[in-house]
Protein backbone atom coordinates (compact mmCIF):
# COMPACT_ATOMS: atom_id res chain seq x y z
CA UNK A 1 0.00 0.00 0.00
CA UNK A 2 2.80 2.36 0.99
CA UNK A 3 4.67 1.57 -2.18
CA UNK A 4 1.58 2.28 -4.21
CA UNK A 5 1.33 5.71 -2.56
CA UNK A 6 5.02 6.34 -3.22
CA UNK A 7 4.60 5.40 -6.86
CA UNK A 8 1.55 7.61 -7.30
CA UNK A 9 3.21 10.63 -5.70
CA UNK A 10 6.50 10.23 -7.49
CA UNK A 11 5.01 9.74 -10.89
CA UNK A 12 2.17 12.21 -10.54
CA UNK A 13 2.85 15.15 -12.86
CA UNK A 14 2.27 18.34 -10.89
CA UNK A 15 1.82 20.85 -13.63
CA UNK A 16 0.27 19.27 -16.63
CA UNK A 17 1.08 21.49 -19.53
CA UNK A 18 -1.84 22.68 -21.54
CA UNK A 19 0.38 23.25 -24.53
CA UNK A 20 -0.42 19.91 -26.08
CA UNK A 21 0.01 21.15 -29.63
CA UNK A 22 3.48 22.38 -28.76
CA UNK A 23 4.54 18.99 -27.49
CA UNK A 24 5.99 17.84 -30.80
CA UNK A 25 8.30 20.84 -31.08
CA UNK A 26 11.92 20.93 -30.08
CA UNK A 27 11.66 24.59 -29.06
CA UNK A 28 9.51 23.45 -26.16
CA UNK A 29 12.77 22.27 -24.63
CA UNK A 30 14.12 25.82 -24.75
CA UNK A 31 11.19 26.97 -22.61
CA UNK A 32 11.59 24.05 -20.28
CA UNK A 33 15.35 24.22 -19.97
CA UNK A 34 15.86 27.99 -19.66
CA UNK A 35 12.44 29.30 -18.57
CA UNK A 36 13.27 29.59 -14.89
CA UNK A 37 16.91 30.57 -15.10
CA UNK A 38 18.54 33.87 -14.29
CA UNK A 39 18.58 36.55 -17.00
CA UNK A 40 15.56 34.89 -18.56
CA UNK A 41 12.03 36.18 -18.99
CA UNK A 42 9.36 33.70 -20.02
CA UNK A 43 5.77 34.68 -20.76
CA UNK A 44 2.73 32.54 -21.36
CA UNK A 45 -0.71 33.78 -22.32
CA UNK A 46 -3.54 31.45 -23.06
CA UNK A 47 -7.02 32.73 -22.54
CA UNK A 48 -9.74 34.88 -23.97
CA UNK A 49 -7.59 38.03 -23.95
CA UNK A 50 -5.80 36.57 -26.98
CA UNK A 51 -8.99 35.93 -28.93
CA UNK A 52 -8.98 39.46 -30.39
CA UNK A 53 -5.79 38.56 -32.22
CA UNK A 54 -6.93 35.12 -33.32
CA UNK A 55 -4.50 33.47 -30.96
CA UNK A 56 -5.14 30.68 -28.56
CA UNK A 57 -1.66 30.49 -27.11
CA UNK A 58 1.30 32.79 -26.82
CA UNK A 59 4.64 31.90 -25.34
CA UNK A 60 7.84 33.87 -25.39
CA UNK A 61 11.24 33.60 -23.85
CA UNK A 62 14.00 36.18 -23.72
CA UNK A 63 17.46 34.97 -22.75
CA UNK A 64 20.38 37.29 -22.07
CA UNK A 65 24.11 36.50 -22.08
CA UNK A 66 23.94 32.79 -22.74
CA UNK A 67 25.86 31.57 -25.81
CA UNK A 68 25.04 27.96 -24.94
CA UNK A 69 21.32 28.82 -24.97
CA UNK A 70 21.78 30.45 -28.39
CA UNK A 71 23.44 27.32 -29.71
CA UNK A 72 20.70 25.12 -28.27
CA UNK A 73 17.88 27.37 -29.52
CA UNK A 74 19.32 27.38 -33.04
CA UNK A 75 19.60 23.61 -32.88
CA UNK A 76 15.92 23.35 -31.88
CA UNK A 77 14.88 25.80 -34.58
CA UNK A 78 16.83 23.81 -37.13
CA UNK A 79 14.83 20.72 -36.18
CA UNK A 80 11.45 22.46 -36.07
CA UNK A 81 11.78 24.42 -39.29
CA UNK A 82 11.92 21.21 -41.36
CA UNK A 83 8.77 21.23 -43.44
CA UNK A 84 7.82 24.64 -42.10
CA UNK A 85 7.06 27.64 -44.24
CA UNK A 86 9.81 30.22 -43.95
CA UNK A 87 8.21 33.61 -43.76
CA UNK A 88 11.53 35.26 -43.02
CA UNK A 89 15.00 33.99 -42.25
CA UNK A 90 18.11 36.11 -41.82
CA UNK A 91 21.43 34.44 -41.20
CA UNK A 92 24.75 35.88 -40.15
CA UNK A 93 28.00 33.91 -40.13
CA UNK A 94 26.02 30.77 -40.86
CA UNK A 95 23.76 31.21 -37.86
CA UNK A 96 20.13 32.30 -37.94
CA UNK A 97 19.75 35.73 -36.39
CA UNK A 98 16.13 36.41 -37.24
CA UNK A 99 13.39 34.10 -38.46
CA UNK A 100 9.63 33.70 -38.75
CA UNK A 101 8.43 30.18 -39.44
CA UNK A 102 4.93 28.90 -39.97
CA UNK A 103 4.99 25.34 -38.74
CA UNK A 104 3.09 22.35 -39.95
CA UNK A 105 -0.22 22.27 -38.12
CA UNK A 106 -1.23 19.33 -36.02
CA UNK A 107 -4.85 20.44 -35.90
CA UNK A 108 -7.02 21.75 -38.71
CA UNK A 109 -7.48 25.53 -38.70
CA UNK A 110 -4.81 26.01 -36.07
CA UNK A 111 -1.70 27.74 -37.34
CA UNK A 112 1.53 27.70 -35.42
CA UNK A 113 4.30 30.25 -35.71
CA UNK A 114 7.77 30.46 -34.30
CA UNK A 115 9.48 33.83 -34.27
CA UNK A 116 13.12 34.15 -33.40
CA UNK A 117 15.63 36.89 -33.10
CA UNK A 118 19.05 37.35 -31.60
CA UNK A 119 20.02 40.98 -31.06
CA UNK A 120 23.46 42.43 -31.64
CA UNK A 121 23.93 42.28 -27.84
CA UNK A 122 23.26 38.55 -27.93
CA UNK A 123 19.76 38.71 -26.44
CA UNK A 124 17.73 35.77 -27.71
CA UNK A 125 14.00 36.20 -28.22
CA UNK A 126 11.89 33.20 -29.12
CA UNK A 127 8.13 33.45 -29.56
CA UNK A 128 5.62 30.66 -30.14
CA UNK A 129 2.14 31.58 -31.29
CA UNK A 130 -0.76 29.34 -32.16
CA UNK A 131 -4.26 30.15 -33.21
CA UNK A 132 -6.46 30.62 -36.24
CA UNK A 133 -4.58 33.75 -37.32
CA UNK A 134 -2.72 33.50 -40.61
CA UNK A 135 0.68 34.86 -41.58
CA UNK A 136 -0.85 38.16 -42.74
CA UNK A 137 -2.49 38.65 -39.40
CA UNK A 138 0.82 37.90 -37.77
CA UNK A 139 2.72 40.42 -39.89
CA UNK A 140 0.05 43.03 -39.21
CA UNK A 141 0.33 42.31 -35.53
CA UNK A 142 4.09 42.55 -35.59
CA UNK A 143 4.41 45.71 -37.60
CA UNK A 144 1.57 47.67 -36.11
CA UNK A 145 2.42 48.30 -32.52
CA UNK A 146 -0.60 47.25 -30.60
CA UNK A 147 -1.09 46.40 -27.00
CA UNK A 148 -1.88 42.77 -26.31
Amino acid sequence: MLWLLVAVFCLMPCGVSAAETQKDLKIQEVFQRYGKKRNVTMVELSNEMLETYGMTRYKSITIKDDPEALRFTRQCLEADQKGARKIKEVTDDGGVVSAYYQLKGVEADINRFVLFKVSKKGVITLVYIEGDLDSDDLITLLFTKKDL
Binding site: G15, R38, E44, T62
Partner: protein, 181 residues
Protein backbone atom coordinates in the same frame (compact mmCIF):
# COMPACT_ATOMS: atom_id res chain seq x y z
CA UNK B 1 -4.74 -44.84 46.15
CA UNK B 2 -2.62 -45.72 49.18
CA UNK B 3 -1.35 -42.65 51.02
CA UNK B 4 2.21 -44.02 51.19
CA UNK B 5 2.27 -44.61 47.49
CA UNK B 6 0.84 -41.12 46.91
CA UNK B 7 3.51 -39.63 49.15
CA UNK B 8 6.23 -41.48 47.28
CA UNK B 9 4.90 -40.21 43.98
CA UNK B 10 4.69 -36.68 45.47
CA UNK B 11 8.36 -36.72 46.43
CA UNK B 12 9.21 -38.11 43.01
CA UNK B 13 7.36 -35.18 41.53
CA UNK B 14 4.87 -37.37 39.68
CA UNK B 15 1.63 -36.29 41.34
CA UNK B 16 -1.12 -34.31 39.66
CA UNK B 17 -2.74 -31.21 41.18
CA UNK B 18 -5.73 -33.31 42.21
CA UNK B 19 -3.49 -35.81 43.99
CA UNK B 20 -1.60 -33.03 45.77
CA UNK B 21 -4.91 -31.59 46.88
CA UNK B 22 -5.79 -35.04 48.27
CA UNK B 23 -2.51 -35.14 50.17
CA UNK B 24 -3.08 -31.67 51.64
CA UNK B 25 -6.64 -32.66 52.62
CA UNK B 26 -5.36 -35.81 54.26
CA UNK B 27 -2.68 -34.06 56.29
CA UNK B 28 -5.01 -31.23 57.40
CA UNK B 29 -7.85 -33.62 58.36
CA UNK B 30 -6.40 -34.32 61.81
CA UNK B 31 -6.43 -38.12 61.25
CA UNK B 32 -2.77 -38.54 60.39
CA UNK B 33 -0.99 -41.65 61.60
CA UNK B 34 2.00 -40.97 63.84
CA UNK B 35 4.47 -42.37 61.33
CA UNK B 36 3.36 -39.70 58.84
CA UNK B 37 2.89 -36.87 61.35
CA UNK B 38 6.25 -35.44 60.37
CA UNK B 39 4.76 -34.29 57.04
CA UNK B 40 1.73 -32.59 58.60
CA UNK B 41 3.24 -29.08 59.11
CA UNK B 42 4.53 -29.02 55.56
CA UNK B 43 1.18 -29.95 53.98
CA UNK B 44 -0.71 -27.65 56.37
CA UNK B 45 1.49 -24.77 55.25
CA UNK B 46 1.01 -25.70 51.60
CA UNK B 47 -2.75 -25.88 52.08
CA UNK B 48 -2.78 -22.40 53.63
CA UNK B 49 -0.73 -20.98 50.79
CA UNK B 50 -2.97 -22.66 48.28
CA UNK B 51 -6.02 -21.11 49.89
CA UNK B 52 -4.41 -17.66 49.81
CA UNK B 53 -3.75 -18.02 46.13
CA UNK B 54 -7.24 -19.27 45.39
CA UNK B 55 -9.04 -16.53 47.32
CA UNK B 56 -7.49 -13.63 49.18
CA UNK B 57 -8.31 -13.90 52.81
CA UNK B 58 -10.59 -11.00 53.55
CA UNK B 59 -9.73 -11.09 57.21
CA UNK B 60 -6.02 -10.86 56.54
CA UNK B 61 -6.12 -8.36 53.65
CA UNK B 62 -9.16 -6.19 53.95
CA UNK B 63 -9.67 -4.56 50.58
CA UNK B 64 -12.11 -1.79 50.23
CA UNK B 65 -14.65 -2.22 47.45
CA UNK B 66 -13.83 1.28 46.29
CA UNK B 67 -10.14 0.43 45.96
CA UNK B 68 -11.00 -2.66 43.96
CA UNK B 69 -13.27 -0.55 41.77
CA UNK B 70 -10.52 2.04 41.33
CA UNK B 71 -8.01 -0.65 40.43
CA UNK B 72 -10.42 -2.00 37.83
CA UNK B 73 -11.08 1.52 36.56
CA UNK B 74 -7.36 2.17 36.32
CA UNK B 75 -6.91 -1.02 34.34
CA UNK B 76 -9.67 0.05 31.94
CA UNK B 77 -8.18 3.55 31.73
CA UNK B 78 -4.74 2.11 31.06
CA UNK B 79 -6.22 -0.07 28.34
CA UNK B 80 -8.01 2.94 26.85
CA UNK B 81 -4.83 5.06 27.06
CA UNK B 82 -2.93 2.30 25.38
CA UNK B 83 -5.49 2.09 22.58
CA UNK B 84 -5.63 5.87 22.19
CA UNK B 85 -1.82 6.06 22.14
CA UNK B 86 -1.69 3.37 19.48
CA UNK B 87 -4.17 5.29 17.34
CA UNK B 88 -2.16 8.50 17.87
CA UNK B 89 1.03 6.74 16.87
CA UNK B 90 -0.69 5.33 13.81
CA UNK B 91 -2.16 8.69 12.76
CA UNK B 92 1.18 10.45 13.39
CA UNK B 93 2.95 7.80 11.35
CA UNK B 94 0.53 8.18 8.46
CA UNK B 95 0.79 12.00 8.62
CA UNK B 96 4.59 11.84 8.71
CA UNK B 97 4.63 9.43 5.76
CA UNK B 98 2.27 11.70 3.85
CA UNK B 99 4.48 14.74 4.48
CA UNK B 100 7.54 12.75 3.51
CA UNK B 101 5.88 11.68 0.28
CA UNK B 102 4.82 15.26 -0.44
CA UNK B 103 8.39 16.41 0.10
CA UNK B 104 9.70 13.64 -2.08
CA UNK B 105 7.17 14.47 -4.75
CA UNK B 106 8.11 18.16 -4.58
CA UNK B 107 11.74 17.18 -4.96
CA UNK B 108 11.16 14.84 -7.89
CA UNK B 109 8.48 16.91 -9.63
CA UNK B 110 9.19 20.56 -8.82
CA UNK B 111 5.88 22.38 -8.69
CA UNK B 112 5.49 24.93 -11.41
CA UNK B 113 4.69 28.10 -9.46
CA UNK B 114 2.51 29.24 -12.33
CA UNK B 115 0.63 26.02 -12.94
CA UNK B 116 -2.56 27.47 -11.54
CA UNK B 117 -2.50 30.44 -13.88
CA UNK B 118 -3.11 30.64 -17.64
CA UNK B 119 -1.16 33.87 -17.93
CA UNK B 120 2.14 34.43 -16.26
CA UNK B 121 5.62 35.76 -16.64
CA UNK B 122 8.69 34.20 -15.08
CA UNK B 123 11.52 36.67 -14.56
CA UNK B 124 14.81 35.33 -13.23
CA UNK B 125 12.99 32.25 -11.94
CA UNK B 126 10.27 34.20 -10.12
CA UNK B 127 6.73 33.87 -11.30
CA UNK B 128 4.38 36.84 -11.62
CA UNK B 129 0.74 36.67 -12.59
CA UNK B 130 -0.04 40.37 -12.59
CA UNK B 131 -1.75 40.75 -15.93
CA UNK B 132 -0.26 44.17 -16.71
CA UNK B 133 3.24 42.87 -16.15
CA UNK B 134 2.50 39.75 -18.20
CA UNK B 135 1.09 41.81 -21.07
CA UNK B 136 3.94 44.29 -21.07
CA UNK B 137 6.53 41.50 -21.14
CA UNK B 138 4.68 39.69 -23.93
CA UNK B 139 4.50 42.90 -25.94
CA UNK B 140 8.18 43.57 -25.33
CA UNK B 141 9.12 40.16 -26.73
CA UNK B 142 6.84 40.68 -29.75
CA UNK B 143 8.33 44.09 -30.42
CA UNK B 144 11.80 42.64 -30.12
CA UNK B 145 11.18 40.00 -32.81
CA UNK B 146 9.43 42.60 -34.95
CA UNK B 147 12.32 45.06 -34.69
CA UNK B 148 13.25 46.19 -38.19
CA UNK B 149 16.49 44.86 -39.51
CA UNK B 150 18.17 48.26 -39.45
CA UNK B 151 17.92 48.12 -35.70
CA UNK B 152 19.40 44.66 -35.73
CA UNK B 153 22.47 45.29 -37.80
CA UNK B 154 25.32 47.05 -36.04
CA UNK B 155 26.24 50.57 -37.08
CA UNK B 156 29.43 49.42 -38.84
CA UNK B 157 27.39 47.12 -41.09
CA UNK B 158 24.95 49.77 -42.09
CA UNK B 159 25.71 49.98 -45.72
CA UNK B 160 23.16 51.87 -47.73
CA UNK B 161 23.19 49.36 -50.57
CA UNK B 162 22.51 46.47 -48.21
CA UNK B 163 19.76 48.44 -46.54
CA UNK B 164 18.03 48.99 -49.86
CA UNK B 165 18.27 45.29 -50.70
CA UNK B 166 16.84 44.27 -47.35
CA UNK B 167 14.03 46.82 -47.54
CA UNK B 168 13.19 45.58 -51.02
CA UNK B 169 13.10 42.02 -49.76
CA UNK B 170 10.81 43.01 -46.95
CA UNK B 171 8.54 44.84 -49.37
CA UNK B 172 8.44 41.74 -51.56
CA UNK B 173 7.59 39.68 -48.52
CA UNK B 174 4.73 41.95 -47.58
CA UNK B 175 3.41 42.00 -51.13
CA UNK B 176 3.61 38.21 -51.19
CA UNK B 177 1.30 38.05 -48.19
CA UNK B 178 -1.03 40.56 -49.81
CA UNK B 179 -1.18 38.35 -52.93
CA UNK B 180 -2.00 35.32 -50.82
CA UNK B 181 -4.87 37.21 -49.27
Amino acid sequence: MDIDELLNRYFEGETSSEEERELRAFFTSGNVPDRLAVYTPMFTYLEEESRKERQPDEALIPIDEDILFMLDAEKVEEKKTFTLRSVLYLVSGIAASFLLLLGLNHLLNPVDPCFCSDNYVVINGRCYTDIHKVRSMALEALQEVATPTDEYFPEVDRDEADRVIIDNQLDELRSLFDDNE
